[in-house]
Amino acid sequence: MKLIHKHNFFAIVCVAFTIVVCTKLLAEKIAGVTDPYYTENIFTCLFFSAVITFIFAAHYYLQQFPFVPVALGQYAVTLGLIMLFVWGMGHFSETSEGAYRDMILSVTIPYLIGAAVYYITFFREIRKANRVLEQLGGTPEFDPLKQEAIIRASICTGEKVAGFKNKEDGHFTEICVIRTPKDEAEFKEKYHIEQIKVEY
C-alpha cells in the first residue's frame, strides 16, 4: 500500500514542516537562544520537509529489497543532500560554525526515533497476529519454556477456565472450561502437566 502518493504529498510536507518548525521554536525557547538566520532556516526546513518526504515516498518502490540496506541507503541520501545544501548555502550566506553538526543531529535523531517506532510497531503487529492465529488454529500448543499452565477462577461466578499464561507478557490463552475434576484431569493429561496453579 502506497502511504505517500501525489494526492497527499503536499499535505504530508505541510504537516512535516509544521512539526519541524514547532520543534525548532520549542528547542530555541528551552535553550534560550535566538536564531540569527531565522528566515533562511525556515525556508531550509521547508526544503528539507519536501526532500525527506520525497525520499520516504520512494520507500514504496524499494519494498522488494531488504529493509536495513534500504533504510541506511535512504538515510545516507538524505544526509548527503542536506550536507550538499548546507555547503551550497555557504557560498551565498554565512553559516554557523556548528551548521554541519547541527544538521547531522537534526536528521539522525528523528530518523532513529522513526526507525525505532517502525520496528516496535512491526513486532507488536506480529505478536497481535500470532494471538489471532492461535484462536483460528483451534487448540494451541503448550510451550513450557515460554508459558505456564494455570486455571483462572472467577471470584464472582466461580467459573474456572484452564489455559496458558505467557511468562513474558502475561497474555492468557484460554483452552477449556473446567467444570469437574475430570475436565482438569483430561487437560493435565493432554498437555502432560502435573500441577496447575489456580489464579483468581
Partner: protein, 151 residues
C-alpha cells in the same frame, strides 16, 4: 446460537442443518466457515484429476504461468489463475502475501519477523513462506477480520 448434536446410527451420510430466523453476523460467520470446510478445488496431480478440500490447501502458488495448490504432503496443478482463486476464496481465509502466493490463514502456525522487516509465515506442515512488505497491511486487515468473526 445453540449447538445441538444428535447421534443417529441409521444415517447413511452425515449432514448439517441450520435453523435460523434471520441471518445475523454470527450466522454469517458460521456459514462462511462451514462453506469453506465443505468446498473442494479441482486440479491435476500426476496426470490424474483430483479434488482437494479447500481447508486442506495450505497455499496457492503461481510458478511459470501455472498455478499449484499445496496441501500437507503434495501439490495439485490448478486450472484457474491465481487472481481468480484469490477472488473466489477471499472469504474462506485466503489472502495474498506476495505476487505469486496466496496463503490459507487457517493453516498458518505462527509469524516471525526479522530485522529486515520481513515476515516469515511458519505453516502447520513445517514449510516457511515469506510475506512481501507491500502485502502486510492487507494481510493484517484480513487476519483481524477473521479473528473478530471467530469471537
Amino acid at each position: 446460537m445453540k449447538l445441538i448434536k444428535t447421534k443417529d446410527e441409521q444415517l447413511k451420510e452425515n449432514y448439517l442443518e441450520l435453523h435460523y430466523r434471520s441471518i445475523d453476523e454470527e450466522t454469517k460467520a458460521v456459514l462462511a466457515r462451514l462453506t469453506s470446510q465443505l468446498q473442494y478445488v479441482d486440479g491435476v496431480s500426476e496426470e490424474k484429476h483430483e479434488a482437494v478440500a479447500l481447508t486442506d490447501v495450505f497455499y496457492f502458488e503461481s510458478v511459470d504461468h501455472k498455478t499449484f495448490a499445496y496441501t500437507a504432503d503434495h501439490c495439485v496443478e490448478m486450472r484457474e489463475a491465481l487472481r481468480d482463486l484469490a477472488e473466489a476464496y477471499e472469504n474462506a481465509g485466503f489472502v495474498r502475501i506476495s505476487k505469486s502466493v496466496i496463503v490459507n490463514l487457517y493453516q498458518i502456525k505462527k509469524l516471525q519477523g526479522d530485522l529486515n522487516m520481513r515476515v516469515k509465515l511458519y505453516m502447520k506442515n513445517g514449510e516457511v513462506l515469506v510475506m512481501n512488505r507491500s502485502y502486510r497491511a492487507e494481510f493484517y486487515q484480513k487476519l483481524n477480520k477473521l479473528g473478530r468473526r471467530g469471537q
